[in-house]
């Protein structure tokens, strides 16, 4: 399967292990990620002002490049890993699909590139996995992570807002897709109530106190459900949760990793986890033999 891939900035700088583990897993699963040429910043947070379409432009420029590349390889599916990129691209794409006047405005403004015809489909990698099928995924697992209790953390951007319709990748209140992934790689999902609560988002920049307060609650909730590790789909959530861990005693911390790292580990390919983390997990599943 060949799909277009929009990486976003964090995967190239702050968290290369997110992208690298994904590439490793995809190779094993027969998914070929074709990076969009000359992609640019998505905008990170979607503008909620309906009277200002300028903030959509970044996303649209990447769409146009994706559209042209898509024609070459014959696909209109764009996969993202970072949940913030997903949220912005999905929203902007849906707005352009629904509102012809906005589309015209944007296309008129971008006169140095071909017009964008809103036929791309923006898909998060989790949904791509769901479409591949968790049952099929299960068959490819080399190291089933039996005995590992994993807290699936969704954050906001994959589940909210619910307008335009179609943004959430799952039920906004009771999502199950990460749980299904966790089960398919042999681990046990922890039902922790704070899985959809906000980590504090961009407040890390000017008001880190807010983020500390939020992440302590999230980590505490995962801990009280005896989670060995928190699985995150979002670079900013990961950063904030790790920041939260740093303010806690070692005994109160719960390590945070990307879902693709655990997937890669179970598929028997390079997980790009720290050696310490990887050993810790393997020890937990009684798999010293793998070490």
């Amino acid at each position: 399967m060949e799909v277009l891939y929009y990486p976003g900035c964090s995967l190239k700088n702050t968290y290369p292990e997110f992208e690298k583990s994904t590439y490793a897993a995809c190779e094993k699963l027969g998914i070929n990620l074709v990076e969009i040429p000359e992609w640019n910043c998505c905008g990170v947070v979607p503008s909620l002002a309906t009277d200002n379409v300028m903030r959509h432009l970044g996303a649209v420029r990447s769409f146009i490049n994706a559209q042209e590349k898509g024609k070459e390889i014959g696909t209109n599916v764009v996969v993202t890993l970072c949940s913030m990129c997903y949220n912005v691209l999905k929203r902007v794409n849906l707005i352009l699909k629904e509102q012809a006047d906005v589309l015209k405005n944007v296309n008129d403004f971008i006169d140095d590139q071909p017009d964008y015809v809103p036929e791309l489909e923006i898909v998060h990698f989790l949904n791509l996995l769901k479409n591949v099928g968790f049952d099929k995924l299960k068959e490819r697992i080399v190291i089933p992570l039996r005995g590992l209790k994993v807290a699936p953390y969704y954050g906001c951007a994959l589940l909210r807002p619910d307008r335009p319709k179609g943004v959430p990748i799952d039920d906004p209140e009771n999502p199950t897709v990460i749980e299904n992934l966790i089960r398919s790689i042999g681990a046990e999902p922890a039902e922790f109530p704070f899985k959809t609560e906000c980590c504090g988002n961009y407040h890390i920049v000017f008001e880190p106190g807010i983020v500390e307060m939020r992440t302590k609650k999230i980590i505490g909730s995962a801990r009280s459900e005896k989670a060995d590790v928190i699985l995150s789909p979002c670079p900013l959530c990961t950063y904030n949760l790790q920041h939260g861990n740093e303010t806690l005693d070692r005994s109160e911390q719960v390590p945070v990793i990307f879902f693709t790292q655990l997937l890669a580990l179970s598929l028997g390919v390079k997980s790009h986890l720290s050696t310490e983390m990887e050993n810790q997990i393997l020890k937990k599943i009684g798999g010293e033999k793998f070490v």
Binding site: D171, P172, E173, N174, E191, F192, P193, S221, S224, E225
Partner: protein, 662 residues
Amino acid sequence: MSALTAHRERPTKEKIGVFVCHCGRNIATTVDTKRVVEEILKHPAVVHAEDYDYVCSSPGQELIEKAIKEKRLTGFIVAACSPSLHETTFREVAERTGLNPYKCEIANIREQDSWVHEDKEKATEKAIKLTKSAVEKVIRNEELEPIKVGLYKKALVIGGGIAGIRAALDIADAGFPVVLVEKGSTIGGHMAKLAETFPTLDCASCILTPLMSAVAHHSNIRLLTLSEIMDVEGYLGNFHVRIKKNPRYVDPEKCNLCNDCVDICPVTVSSEFDEGLSLRKAIYIPFPQAVPSSYLIDLDACLGMNPITCGKCAEPDICGPEAVNFDDQTEIIEEDIGVIVVATGYELYNPENIGEYGADKYLDVITSLQFERLLSPSGPAVGIPKRPSDEKIPKRIAFIHCVGSRDERHQPYCSHICCTYSAKHALLFKELVPDADIYSFYIDIRAVGKNYEDFIRRVQEEAGVHYIRGKVSRIYEQDGKVKIFGVDTLLNKRIEIEVDMAVLALSMVPAHGIEDLASKMRIQIDGSGFLQELHPKLHPVESATSGIFLAGAAQSPKDIQDTVAQASAAASKALGILTQEKISHIPTVATVDTDLCSGCRLCISVCPYGAIKLIDEKAEVKEVLCEGCGACVSTCPSDAISLRNHTDEQVSSMLKALVGEI
């Protein structure tokens, strides 16, 4: 008073009299009635005209009678107040004097003339035009008789909850046979599940079970449980109904309620009657007072009567009377029915749709009906509510109002009863567990009903409930506690509290399958999915289809008081029809000129009553179904359909009169 008689040659054989009313000064101040009389006499069809102070009075009516007799009038006009006031009065005068009532028309020169205009001359001109227009109409009116049809003197009541029970008993007590159809295995509906009822705190069973028993023993009531309506054909007085009666597998006539079959049955499933809070067997009785008083077999749960797998309950040493019958079959029952009462009730909204409250995940987040069962002395907790997770008596309970109500994502309407029953829950619980802490989260307290406000006050004063104005955003369980994210919008404080159990006052939604039933009966569904009444104020129990009445929560969320009141109202409407020998139907219906009809079917598609059928490629109006709206008339591209006494010709000549061309 003046009476003038015209002596001119007339082209029409109609002889019309015109009576212009002064209405005291109401008309006469603004309209020159004398001039109206003078002018109208110039109309070729008018042979008599006069004016009088009060035409509606006895002497006024006598004037009309006298003129009809003396001048051999073929019709007459009263130029007076609106037809909605005295049209019936004057048509009765016509009938008394030997004229067809449809040979009387009213010219409205009060409400639409003298009362709204000041210029006397112009108002008089207008009065003349309006009167002439009425003359033009009446000379073209057909003499019509009300359409009379016979009827079946039997009622069908659909739904065996308190609404259906009340309606069936009222009709049966008046001496008419009733077929009561209930989908479930027993009548009683939701009320049978309740502990006590607000605001009087009557025990629900104590007031309901005698009525259920009365239904069971009433010689005029044929009770069909486990039954559904398959189809309804016909019209007011002459419905033909087919009912599917599903097998019970236990003969109620033979069953003696010994319970031996239940003891031996190896299968347990969760009990619908206890809202999933207890278990029952595959052969069971929903509750001891069920009517019909008999066990039944849930064939989906039953292992079957194959002796290898089971079939124990059917063995003669278990069921002595041989009541268990695995060969029981589905029956199709046909009934001829005169009137129908629809009382299909409600359901609670599915809490799984409200993800943020987690009722599907957390055992101690329960529905209001589950709490009723926990409070009920006959319920699974034997009267002292215990929380489902660990069977401990909860000390802190939160009641959440408006769950799924007044919410665009779920039901936009107010469910009407939740404020009061949540208060009742709090009061009853406090009586059982005096040291309990009770939190009640509300948006507004809507206790609208007789004595309801007193009841709320009593709960606030006696039960010491913490009423918190603010909606709850989220409920979850952690560390064995139910946690609630709420807000107090009066203190403007966000609150997070821990409780032992949360009770959701879920919104009421129409019973499952209502749309299907409504379309079978050609009754309307409103925007919220409930059955639509003909008019919310003037016809609150009638459906748009004559002869079909609505009762209870099928029409809108309501409490027991209102349900019973509406059920009795529906029964009285039904009796109003059943007591007649013949049914009258308005004769001003549509009629087809088959020579002109091309069989295009457009009329069939626009008729809201299904009154038109195609017979031999020609439209035919079933007169008793036609309500005379004229939608077919204006649609017919061949001018083949006309409306009696509102023909194109009449409209055309009235228009001419209105602009002074006549």
